[in-house]
């Protein structure tokens, strides 16, 4: 018996659907952990609140923090690039069309969700993947990720030797009007990501609790519980 038949036999139209493929879930968690590490180490690099006493040769606090920051940056960069690649080759829920409301019904979904969140609509929109509002948020945050990576690489070019292959990124420095502006953008972008994280976690929790779609668990399991009627799957 197929799962559909089971669902029907239980007289419910809720179905367990595979939404998030492995690369989506994996890059999500790599981003999660690397963002935590990058923000913590980055904050220290910007504001070294720990100062050590004694001889310089006995300590390597900033050095260690910076090394961790660089390794986490490698993980983050590769993870973001893999996820962007997956926007073009992944399933329907991972695609760019989920992130940017190109189509009219996605644009309508954007407003419906915005109305729901601002208490101007009774019922939540139910989407198999992202709702259009969330999708736009993710599109924006991937732009910020790319800006973080670009400013980070620009800053890194002065850290390495003039003959390092990383020097291919030094064309970025004038684009940001110099390293100091790149640094400022790097800071601002970190705060945008952290603010995004708060909003993201809250709305995922809300969807999970209010809509009972197991959205929160789905980023681990890949499965959501969806009403076929609302999502429009027959």
């Amino acid at each position: 018996m197929s799962s559909m038949a089971i669902a029907r036999s239980k007289n419910t139209d809720v179905e367990r659907l595979y939404i998030w493929e492995l690369p989506v879930r994996l890059t999500h968690w790599l981003n999660f952990f690397s963002i935590i590490v990058l923000s913590a180490t980055g904050y220290y690099i910007g504001h070294p609140f720990i100062s050590v006493a004694g001889l310089a040769r006995d300590h390597f606090v900033m050095g260690t923090v910076r090394v961790i920051h660089m390794y986490a940056a490698i993980v983050f960069t590769l993870s973001v690039l893999v996820r962007i690649y997956w926007m073009f080759v992944g399933n329907d829920y991972a695609r760019l069309t989920q992130l940017i409301p190109f189509r009219r019904e996605r644009f309508r979904s954007f407003w419906k969700t915005a109305m729901f969140y601002s208490f101007m609509r009774r019922e939540a929109e139910e989407n198999a993947g992202h709702d259009a509002l969330a999708g736009s948020g993710y599109a924006m945050i991937f732009g910020v990720y790319l800006l973080l990576i670009a400013t980070g690489l620009a800053l890194y070019t002065v850290d390495v030797s003039p003959s390092s292959p990383f020097q291919v990124f030094n064309f970025l420095i004038p684009l940001f009007e110099g390293l100091q502006m790149a640094r400022l953008i790097h800071h601002i972008c970190m705060w945008i990501v952290l603010i995004f994280a708060v909003i993201h976690i809250y709305f995922v929790l809300l969807a999970s609790v209010a809509e009972r779609t197991a959205t929160f668990d789905s980023i681990v399991s890949g499965y959501k519980f969806l009403s076929r009627r609302k999502v429009g799957i027959s």
């Binding site: 910007g46 002065v158 100091q180 400022l184 705060w191 952290l194 909003i199 809300l206």
Partner: protein
């Protein structure tokens, strides 16, 4: 020509052969060559036909000229640059007025396509260049004329290299760098810094004399031998940076111990030059060496992006962003978290009202 006059000139000034060879060895060091390159440099400097140097000053403070002259005793470098090769230099030459203009015209005519133009100061372009006129010609005209006929142009100092302080916002005179004022200028080399280090200018000339070509440049057309590494990477206080030992206030214990000036706004990590190695005033000292943070004077837009000098992050015109970006970021994150909680409360209320309404609906139906 005074081609063979160098040795006599040096002796006349009381500079021995030994001093001269020591100078050549130090030039080799600045250029990153082994000490064995010293004799080759000595031979080149002594025997080669000297390049004709024409030094022009535009919108500037003559700081680079001062840097080159360095008060105190004349050095070998001074002699090579001033006495032997410098055909025209507004501040240094004896001639004045129309005599000076004649000297310039003649030097340019006699050495067309062979001389080296050294430009100090930015070039104002607004009001048809009226902000800087010499002998009835605007700086823009003169620069295009002189640099156009030069074998190479050396922009001395940050103003000539990138516009510098005159080009800082709001740039009232429309000040331009040499690269922008003279499009397509041949063999342009930027020797930025405020002022440019005389040691590096001399080394650049010596490099050209010895190897008959110009050195490899970075993306801002600055020689890699002088601008290839950041101040931070060669800094004598780098160990304190990596260890986590920072000055928090002027004159505190860390400052007295010579710890890292990063938190005092040091721009060493954003600035490329060889100050920590070559130092200033004949190797006497340099800013960080005497407890002051680097202000990043060798970088493009330094007055706009390296200020405030005693702060880590820059300000953006109109907003005092740099100082508050992190506190505000932290505050906003907290605010958004609070808003999320408030929204959550709103959702609970909505849910309650909704379920009450539906149960009422239900009772009505029954």
């Amino acid at each position: 020509m005074r081609v063979h006059g160098l040795r006599e000139e040096l002796e006349h000034q009381g500079i021995s052969r030994r001093d001269f060879l020591a100078f050549c060895a130090s030039m080799a060091a600045v250029l990153g060559l082994p000490a064995s390159a010293g004799p080759a440099i000595a031979a080149a400097v002594e025997n080669e036909q000297k390049p004709i140097l024409i030094w022009l000053e535009f919108q500037d403070c003559a700081g680079n000229t001062e840097s080159l002259l360095r008060a105190g005793h004349p050095t070998v470098a001074d002699l090579i640059l001033d006495s032997i090769s410098l055909s025209y230099h507004e501040t240094l030459m004896a001639a004045a007025g129309s005599q000076a203009e004649q000297a310039l015209t003649q030097a340019v005519r006699d050495n067309a396509g062979k001389y080296i133009a050294l430009i100090e100061g930015s070039i104002p372009s607004d009001a048809d260049g009226a902000y800087c006129m010499i002998g009835g010609k605007s700086a823009l005209q003169i620069a295009r004329e002189i640099c156009g006929g030069a074998a190479a142009t050396i922009a001395v100092g940050t103003c000539a290299s990138f516009g510098g302080i005159p080009a800082a916002r709001p740039n009232p005179t429309g000040a331009l760098s040499v690269a922008d004022a003279v499009p397509g200028v041949k063999n342009l080399i930027n020797m930025s810094a405020c002022p440019a280090n005389a040691e590096n200018i001399t080394a650049l000339i010596v490099y050209y004399l010895t190897l008959k070509r110009w050195p490899p440049l970075d993306q801002y057309r600055r020689p890699l031998f002088a601008y290839g590494k950041s101040i931070h990477d060669n800094c004598e206080r780098r160990a304190h940076f990596d260890a986590g030992q920072y000055v928090d206030a002027w004159g505190d214990e860390a400052h007295r111990h010579g710890h890292c000036l990063y938190k005092m706004g040091c721009k060493g990590p954003a600035t490329s030059q060889n100050c920590p190695v070559v130092r200033w005033n004949e190797g006497t000292n340099w800013p960080i060496g005497c407890g002051h943070p680097c202000i990043g004077c060798a970088e493009p837009n330094f007055w706009d992006t390296m200020t405030p000098f005693y702060q880590r992050l820059p300000n953006v015109a109109g907003f005092d962003v740099g100082s508050w970006v992190d506190p505000v970021g932290l505050g906003l994150t907290g605010l958004v978290a609070a808003a999320a909680v408030a929204h959550g409360v709103g959702e609970i209320v909505r849910h309650r009202i909704g379920s009450k309404a539906s149960s009422e609906d239900g009772s009505e139906a029954e």
